[in-house]
């Protein structure tokens, strides 16, 4: 067996030391009935070549992974990943190490996390970020729980309906068991595609725990986060901003600067492949005053006994392995290697590269939207947007099928989640799309109507 080194001689010698005749004698104490039914009925082991062939065949079965012009977005975004990112995350020293519980032999991981925490804090305009969460959706749920630890007496959670359906569903799941919290969905302003501020106003009282707003939101629209935060603060509550396309933060005002108390999101755009939706990267940032209520791991700067700068996990008393049932979260394994990918990606992009990439996304998306407008496809919302937007169409599903036949994945139909919008298509445009592809999109959609 290529992964199991022992030879027959090794086994014989070791069993002799253990004073048993057969390796199965070592599990003789396991109840016989269990052992008797334990055989695993799966095909026998195969050579590497055979395995590679079989798995590659499955990969080839995903026709949508290549050969289509794609405008799919809506929470996961198509961005170019520089080769250097792969070279870095492929390093065995990073990939095959565990959580850095032994800082003396984990400085590579701990320093990279410290850099990641800093980058996220810089992008969100907040004080501190943690070492990563699973994804944007669970991070949003954890943000609400964090807010609740900060304001235990309050119980109303106001969530914009323009938050991604997956995120709202995940939040519902995470909060389902805690009878104490009341989820209220704030309706949208149907014209702008933004949160209905007057409706929010109605919730702004001393029961309000927090507001949860997409920035940009599920329609690509840039919510008036400043106004929302002010309203929230006036009610003494916490404003939570949720970002699924963090590239936007290269150009948009940072949530922290607009008054958000907690900023969470999905980091997939920063150097992670699409890989059918995971693993991506959840991030969470907040204010220093609330750091002891944060979920997940934190790396801090310290020194070794010789006074040299070093980094290690810290404030662990918040965590499950110390605090157990009173921990700030149950998270243990996080998305550390994805955080490393993001750190490498952002370091490569740099200040200028990131801003220019964000700018190019804006330019192309608006170019596409104008072109579609020209082709008679009305934009559904008036609110300003970053790199995705919604167009009003009669029968999105049918349209998408036609486009697909012409080799274009034109976007996402929002009907299932937002039937009230009446025929809406979410179209996402990134630097991966060429002007030529945008033309093609117009042609097939115009034809499709």
């Amino acid at each position: 067996m290529r992964f199991i080194p022992h030879t027959e001689a090794d086994v014989a010698a070791m069993l002799q030391t253990l004073g048993v005749a057969h390796i199965d004698d070592l599990i003789a104490h396991v109840p016989e009935n269990l052992r008797n039914s334990a055989a695993i009925k799966l095909a026998a082991g195969r050579t590497e070549a055979e395995v590679a062939a079989e798995v590659s065949a499955l990969a080839a079965g995903n026709r949508g992974a290549a050969g289509f012009i794609s405008f799919l977005g809506g929470g996961y975004y198509r961005h170019y990943v520089p080769a250097a990112v792969r070279a870095i995350t492929a390093r065995a020293e990073f990939a095959t190490s565990y959580t850095p519980y032994q800082p003396e032999v984990s400085q590579g991981t701990t320093q990279a996390i410290f850099e990641f925490q800093t980058l996220i804090a810089q992008l969100t305009g907040l004080d501190v970020a943690n070492a990563s969460m699973y994804d944007g959706a669970s991070a949003a749920a954890e943000a609400i729980l964090m807010a609740h630890r900060v304001l235990p007496k309050r119980h109303v959670v106001a969530i914009s309906r323009a938050l991604w359906p997956d995120y709202r569903a995940t939040i519902r799941t995470y909060l389902s068991a805690l009878g104490t919290l009341k989820l209220v969905e704030v309706p949208l302003e149907s014209a702008s595609g933004m949160i209905d501020l007057s409706a929010l106003e109605g919730l702004a009282n001393d029961e309000l725990l927090c507001t949860v707003t997409g920035y940009p939101n599920a329609f690509g629209v840039i919510e008036p986060l400043g106004q929302i935060a002010d309203m929230t603060h006036r009610a003494g509550a916490l404003a939570i901003a949720v970002t699924a396309e963090p590239l936007a933060l290269g150009l948009l005002k940072p949530p922290g600067a607009l008054g958000a108390d907690i900023a969470v999101g999905e980091g997939q755009s920063f150097g992670m492949p699409l890989q059918f939706g995971g693993p991506g990267l959840g991030f969470i940032a907040g204010r220093t005053a609330h750091v002891r209520q944060m979920p997940g791991r934190l790396v801090g700067q310290t020194r070794d006994s010789a006074g040299r700068r070093a980094y290690c996990l810290t404030l662990a008393t918040r965590e499950q392995h110390i605090r157990r049932e009173r921990a700030t979260s149950n998270i243990c394994t996080n998305h550390s290697l994805c955080a490393l990918a993001a750190t490498a990606y952002l370091s490569l992009m740099g200040r200028q590269g990131l801003r220019e990439l964000a700018a190019r996304n804006v330019e192309l998306a608006h170019q596409a939207q104008k072109a579609l407008e020209g082709a008679g496809m009305r934009r559904r919302f008036s609110g300003q947007y970053f790199n995705e937007f919604v167009v009003a169409v009669d029968n999105p599903e049918a349209m998408l099928e036609v486009a697909e036949k012409h080799g274009v994945l034109a976007g996402l139909a929002l009907d299932r989640d937002y039937p009230d919008l009446g025929g809406a298509l979410l179209i996402s445009v990134t630097e991966m799309n060429t002007p030529g592809e945008i033309e093609r999109l117009c042609d097939v959609l115009a034809g499709g109507r």
Binding site: I4, L18, V30, L34, A39, G45, V51, A52, S56, L58, N62, R63, A65, Y76, R86, I88, R91, A95, S97, T99, Q102, E104, S106, Q107, G108, T109, E115, S132, T170, S176, G250, L251, L252, K253, A257, L274, Q275, F276, G278, G280, Q301, T302, R303, C312, Q320, H321, N330, T333, N334, S336, L340, S347, G350, R351, R355, E356, E363, H366, L409, R416
Partner: protein
């Protein structure tokens, strides 16, 4: 001027500890220089102005304070040099108990990187993603077979999220049947995520003291049962490495009282082809693919924590579920794989999209490579390696239990009394010998615990070397304890002060420093 200062600093530090492995790699922010770039962006600066014009100033930020600016060669060098400061399973023996640091086959990563997987958007129409969904369906089937359960959800991002899903299913099932129990029993040897997940799922934790012999006794559990107990959450083998001998009686007792058995499958590496959780009577089990199924730990993650259940809980699994729809008009033979969102009894969504797919590809690749026979062999060899280490070290590092143990062993020692050398000191001294220490001070019930899990992928030579090293450290601890107490010595850093880090937390770089 900035640049020369920086340069000066670099040279100085080099002078101080002349060594190419000097571990004070500057922070990426300290290596930054205004106007430098690591990528060439299309559109360039001009497009930045145009974009700001489109969005309007009021929406835009003018700066990203302190953001790094480096060239590609600098960035690569920075992270490659950082990598050299890590231990990793691929390079060092890493017997971290309860973490199953086994070999991660290189092929796993190549398969996950195939364009057909890496380039697949999660919202791709299922008809264009059949290979990926089929892989998930096969993975569900394989895990069901391996664990002896009826249905599997691959959604959980990690073990802890699998625990949350499992506990929420228990609650949903009870709500469905009208009565809600408030308590979950957890042994004192349990992993921290177990109680933490209970809290998140709205249950109160009842701690069950592990019996005198280090395992749960059915009688003791019976004593704790009541109509308010929803479940017992137990890790088997438990964190002492003991296979819970009375697990079946315990399951029966629970079921009798209408409670469920949640089996924490983090130690599944001891059970492959040895005993199936389903046969033990488990109603729910989660499995850490990043442990038993060889996906890399990545310095803390990502992993995947699929949750498997018995038939009665299937309706409560998180959505979406994978289903095969009968052949549609599109002419696919044998029907088409799709996602089912219409799950009225489901606990709901755990996260966005369909789970940590990239990890599923790796684990499936591993399962194909090992096969049913290989997996069974893996557990047996893992158990033998742990037993061998326990046996060979028993004189100075006796086992915390007299019971037979499985894939890991928990050892203790008398060095603190004999020479004031602590378990932490031993751990730090191991670093000097190029060995990653075992899990220490866990489980909490064992004095100065050293929790050792060699895994099946380590050679006998490696075990012998580790044993010799442990014996040497024991001798050192008696002869000159200071050497051990002051460890590590051979690394670029001495022992790191974790206390100060927590007292005055510095959690990010700032220009002011």
């Amino acid at each position: 001027m900035a640049v020369t200062d920086k340069a000066g600093a670099v040279a100085a530090s080099a002078a101080e500890r002349p060594d190419h492995t000097d571990n004070r790699v500057p922070l990426i922010f300290e290596e930054s220089s205004p106007g430098r770039r690591g990528v060439d962006a299309k559109g360039g600066a001009a497009s930045e102005e145009r974009a700001i014009a489109i969005l309007g100033d009021e929406l835009c930020r003018s700066e990203i304070e302190g953001f790094p600016e480096l060239s590609e060669p600098q960035v690569l060098r920075h992270f490659l040099r950082l990598s050299q400061l890590n231990f990793g399973q691929a390079l060092q023996f890493y017997p971290l108990g309860s973490c199953t640091m086994k070999y991660n086959p290189v092929l796993n990563d190549e398969m996950a990187a195939l364009p057909g997987f890496a380039g697949l958007h999660p919202s791709t129409p299922p008809r264009l993603a059949q290979g990926a969904i089929e892989l998930m369906a096969r993975m569900e089937a394989a895990l069901a077979e391996i664990s002896g359960m009826d249905a599997v959800s691959l959604a959980p991002a990690a073990g802890a999220q699998g625990e949350l899903a499992g506990l929420l299913m228990i609650r949903a099932w009870e709500e469905h049947r009208g009565k809600v129990r408030r308590k979950v029993i957890i042994p004192d040897t349990a992993h921290g995520t177990n109680p933490a997940s209970c809290t998140l799922a709205g249950f109160d934790v009842v701690v069950a003291p592990s019996g005198p012999r280090g395992y749960l006794e059915a009688s003791a559990i019976r004593g704790l049962l009541s109509d308010d107990v929803a479940a017992l959450m137990v890790t088997n083998p438990n964190t002492l490495g003991i296979f819970e001998p009375e697990i079946q009686e315990i399951a029966a007792a629970l079921h009798e009282r209408g409670a469920m058995l949640y089996l924490d499958g983090a130690n599944m590496n001891a059970l492959l082809g040895v005993a199936k959780p389903g046969d033990m009577g488990a109603d729910i089990v989660h499995i850490n693919l990043h442990k038993t199924f060889s996906t890399p730990h990545g310095g803390g993650g990502p992993g995947a924590g699929p949750v498997a259940v018995k038939r009665h809980l299937e309706p409560f699994l998180p959505y979406p579920r994978i289903v095969k729809r009968p052949a549609s008009g599109t002419g696919d033979r044998g029907g088409q794989w799709e996602f089912d969102y219409d799950r009225p009894l489901s606990i709901g969504r755990l996260r966005s999209f369909h789970g940590n797919f990239g990890m599923l590809v790796r684990a499936y690749t591993y399962i194909l490579a090992m096969g049913g026979d290989g997996l069974a062999a893996a557990s047996r060899h893992a158990i033998m390696n742990a037993a061998y280490v326990r046996k060979r070290l028993e004189e100075h590092f006796p086992s915390a239990t007299a019971e037979p143990t499985m894939h890991e062993c928990v050892l203790t020692h008398d060095l603190d009394q004999r020479s004031g050398v602590s378990t932490l000191d031993i751990a730090k001294r191991l670093l000097d010998f190029g060995v990653h220490p075992p899990t220490i001070y866990f489980p909490l019930v064992v004095h100065g615990a050293l929790m050792i899990e060699p895994t099946e992928t380590e050679s006998r030579e490696t075990l012998e070397s580790f044993i010799a090293t442990m014996e040497q450290i024991y001798a050192e601890a008696i002869e000159n304890p200071e050497t051990v107490k002051a460890a590590p010595h051979a690394l670029k850093l001495r022992r790191i002060d974790e206390v100060t880090a927590a007292r005055r937390p510095i959690l990010r770089w700032t220009r002011e420093g």
